[in-house]
């Protein structure tokens, strides 16, 4: 097992951006990454270049919040409700489709490259054929309103390693696991500790499950967000992670946080399952590494910026993170 310590996780390169970068993906078999953010743009960065410079592919009409690599395409989703298909080699737009009536919060793809998954604040998860962009399934299992009559939000989605299941999670902490082939719900889970409704002081809510990922063996499903918050003007709650054996519908791990405050925006496993990484932030950023076998926190450190997304390389010794005004290349040395 690869041990991780604070001193072994280092930023080795960083790139400044004009605002928040919300989503990043790595192009397989290359050192290229694609990213999008608050400038509405979808851009490419080739880390193989001596002095990498971002190249803009095109733009949405609002924040770009999801990216996935599906075969020969990159697919981006944005708060404009549209999905855009991009040619992975040329960076040219292949097609744009109206996919959701409200903000798209995340985009994923199956590993076989055939299906694109999008989730949005219309509270629907849609599965799309990656080649034709035809709609395959609409997955409806999340309430449109919170129990207090306000709009809910569908923040997160993930695809199981065997491509057979899709998981989705919303603002009030409701998680649904779906069968990809049929579009049927096969499990529901609850993580209400990640949603704070303040009925007395401020009368609105904050939180929600912002990150989801399956373990490499597909048995566990991890969810991340922020714990209960006293003053919901700020992200002033402990970063929170819960892990479920989703088939048994049992929570196996709870990391309520004791040092790090803010939202868990992204969760990723080491390819071999050695550790799980959580990243996010409030006004600052953070990184946390967990050993699920020992049920322990290996690392909980500040990051230079609030991190919104990251992608771990296939060897598990490096990752690239997208955050508030920066893209950060990290190395993990055992």
């Amino acid at each position: 097992m690869a041990a991780v310590k604070s001193e072994s996780v280092k930023v080795v390169k960083e790139f400044s951006r004009p605002g928040p970068v919300f989503t990043i993906e790595a192009v397989p078999d290359s050192r290229r990454v694609i990213f999008g953010g608050a400038d509405f743009q979808v851009c490419e960065l080739d880390l193989a270049q001596e002095k990498p410079e971002p190249r803009t592919w095109g733009a949405h009409e609002s924040y770009v919040t999801g990216l996935a690599i599906a075969g020969r395409y990159a697919v981006s989703g944005a708060y404009d409700g549209h999905l855009m298909w991009w040619d992975l080699e040329t960076g040219k737009t292949v097609r744009t489709i109206p996919a959701h009536k409200k903000w798209i919060r995340n985009v994923a793809a199956t590993r076989d490259g055939k299906t694109v998954v999008s989730v949005a604040d219309d509270m629907v998860c849609r599965l799309w054929d990656a080649e034709s962009a035809s709609l395959l399934h609409e997955l409806r299992g999340h309430e449109e309103q919170t129990p207090n009559h306000y709009p809910s939000m569908l923040f997160a989605c993930a695809v199981s390693p065997d491509d057979q299941h899709i998981a989705t999670a919303d603002k009030v902490g409701h998680i649904v696991v779906w069968e990809r082939a049929t579009g049927q719900s096969v499990a529901t889970l609850e993580a209400p500790g990640m949603y704070t409704w303040d009925p007395v002081q401020r009368r609105h809510s904050i939180g929600g499950i912002r990150a989801l990922t399956f373990s490499p063996d597909g048995n566990l499903l991890a969810a991340g967000g922020v714990g209960k918050i006293g003053n919901i003007d700020h992200l002033d709650g402990n970063a929170r992670v819960e892990v479920f054996d989703w088939r048994k519908k049992e929570r196996t791990h709870e990391f309520p946080g004791d040092k790090i405050k803010g939202l868990v925006e992204h969760l990723a496993f080491h390819p071999g399952g050695d550790w799980m990484l959580a990243a996010g932030g409030a006004n600052d950023g953070f990184l946390m590494f967990f050993d699920l076998n020992a049920k322990s926190v290996l690392v909980q450190d500040k990051a230079p910026v609030h991190i919104h997304d990251l992608v771990v390389n296939s060897a598990g010794d490096s990752f690239i993170a997208a955050g508030h005004g920066k893209i950060l290349l990290y190395e993990i040395k055992s």
Binding site: P20, S62, D121, S205, H306, H324
Partner: protein, 436 residues
């Protein structure tokens, strides 16, 4: 108190608050100026019609904590500071507002947006007092707030209803700008509802009969008149006036009770607390209450500004548009001014928590209905929303405009002792372009 002329004695009695007022009332001490217990203004067509013709009223939607102008009435789509929301066209060509407000977009002909407030105070308490009173604190004078002034100016002498009602249920920010009658005296202070939609302790105590209640009031009045002989002072006058209004206030309980409304009307306003309180506000102004503030807290979105506004702005959009429709259908919109206001707006800059912070340099307010040139925008912020580009408006100019819209001279003087105190600072003028 003489018309437009009051004396501030500075005595503790002058500052009698609602708690004391209602607490004493519950003890059964009351005077009866007239038998007001048969009050049923809402079902009295002649009286209602007369009210519609003569009386002007205000409903203040107080967006406590500071709503973002960029996510409501002054969107900057595409600017680095603009955030993710789009701007949408409204019923008035050339005016766009946030996509979070599609219902208000269809009713823009009733509303004037002022996009150039520069009020220079980004502190919750200081900003709230400034925007409730129209001017900065002055250690030598306790200024009344907008509600108290309008209670004084628009309230009727023998009113059977409260003159100033304030709903503020959330606890955050409630103490930053409590209703303040200032030198006008407690007669014009607010009936503040913080825990219930209906005033507490408004009922006659069960162990006291109506006759007993009247007799106690008569006795109190007799003793009070004896005490008044040879004495003067606004505190004493205000004290007695307050008692004289008790039975009217007791009878006004139903005005606060939205269950008296048809279900279809309640459904229009929706199930949220804000919707229910605004419906109650409409009932109150319809019955002749000149000023109602509905405090909707808490907009202070230092973190997750966009999610917060996704929750709160659609609610504001729905409730405000429903209110304007309802007032218009009842023939009340021409005589009722609906204001959206807060202590400040929010920064164009977006912080790492995706929040916006306090900002008083270029923000927005709206005025709808009575005396207002609907379908208009006054003032302009720059491309990023960081500064006022045209038509800067301060709190004083805003208040002068509100007073003018209601037919009140902004330079009218009150007197604190022999000191004249104009409603707005000398030289302040209403904004003609905002007025109908």
């Amino acid at each position: 108190m003489a018309d437009s002329h009051t004396r501030f004695c500075g005595s503790p009695e002058h500052a009698m608050d609602r708690r004391r007022f209602l607490g004493t009332m519950a003890a059964g001490a009351a005077a009866v100026a007239a038998d007001m217990t048969v009050l049923n203004v809402l079902q009295e067509p002649v009286l209602a019609a007369e009210l519609k013709k003569q009386q002007k009223r205000v409903i203040l939607l107080w967006l406590a904590g500071g709503a973002s102008q960029l996510e409501t009435f002054d969107p900057k789509p595409g600017a680095p500071t603009g955030g993710p929301f789009r701007a949408i066209a409204t019923s008035v060509p050339g005016i766009q507002i946030s996509e979070l407000m599609p219902k208000m977009a269809q009713r823009m002909d009733r509303t004037c947006i002022i996009r150039s407030l520069n009020t220079k105070n980004g502190d919750h308490g200081g900003g709230a007092r400034l925007m409730m009173r129209g001017r900065m604190d002055d250690p030598s004078v306790r200024y009344p707030d907008l509600g108290a002034v309008l209670a004084r100016e628009l309230g009727r002498v023998h009113s059977q209803v409260p003159d100033y009602v304030s709903f503020y249920t959330s606890t955050e920010g409630r103490d930053f700008a409590p209703g303040a009658a200032g030198f006008l005296g407690s007669r014009y202070g607010p009936m503040e509802l913080t825990t219930s939609m209906i005033p507490e302790n408004i009922h006659r105590a069960a162990e006291i009969s109506d006759l007993d209640h009247r007799q106690r009031a008569d006795l109190r009045e007799l003793l009070s008149k004896r005490f008044e002989r040879g004495r003067s002072g606004s505190a004493l006058g205000g004290h007695n006036e307050a008692y004289q209004r008790v039975r009217g206030l007791m009878a006004s309980e139903k005005l606060f009770d939205i269950s008296e409304e048809p279900q279809k009307v309640r459904d229009l306003y929706g199930p949220t607390q804000f919707g229910e309180q605004v419906l109650a506000a409409r009932r109150l102004v319809e019955a002749g209450v000149p000023f109602v503030r509905v405090g909707r807290a808490w907009w202070d979105s230092h973190g997750q500004n966009f999610e917060t506004h996704q929750e709160l702005v659609p609610e504001l959009d729905h409730v405000m548009s429903t209110l304007l429709d309802d007032l218009a259908q009842r023939g009340l919109l021409d005589s009722t001014l609906v204001i959206t206001l807060a202590e400040f707006g929010r920064t164009p800059a977006i912080n790492p928590s995706l929040g916006r912070d306090h900002f008083a340099s270029a923000w927005s307010t709206t005025l709808s209905g009575c005396g207002i040139a609907g379908g208009s925008v006054y003032g302009k912020s720059d491309k990023t929303g960081n500064t006022v580009a045209d038509g800067e408006v301060g709190a004083a100019e805003l208040f002068a405009t509100i007073y003018q819209a209601l037919g009140i001279d902004p330079q009218k003087n009150y007197y604190v002792g022999s000191r004249p105190v104009p409603l707005t600072d000398p030289g302040t003028e209403a904004i003609d372009e905002v007025l109908a």
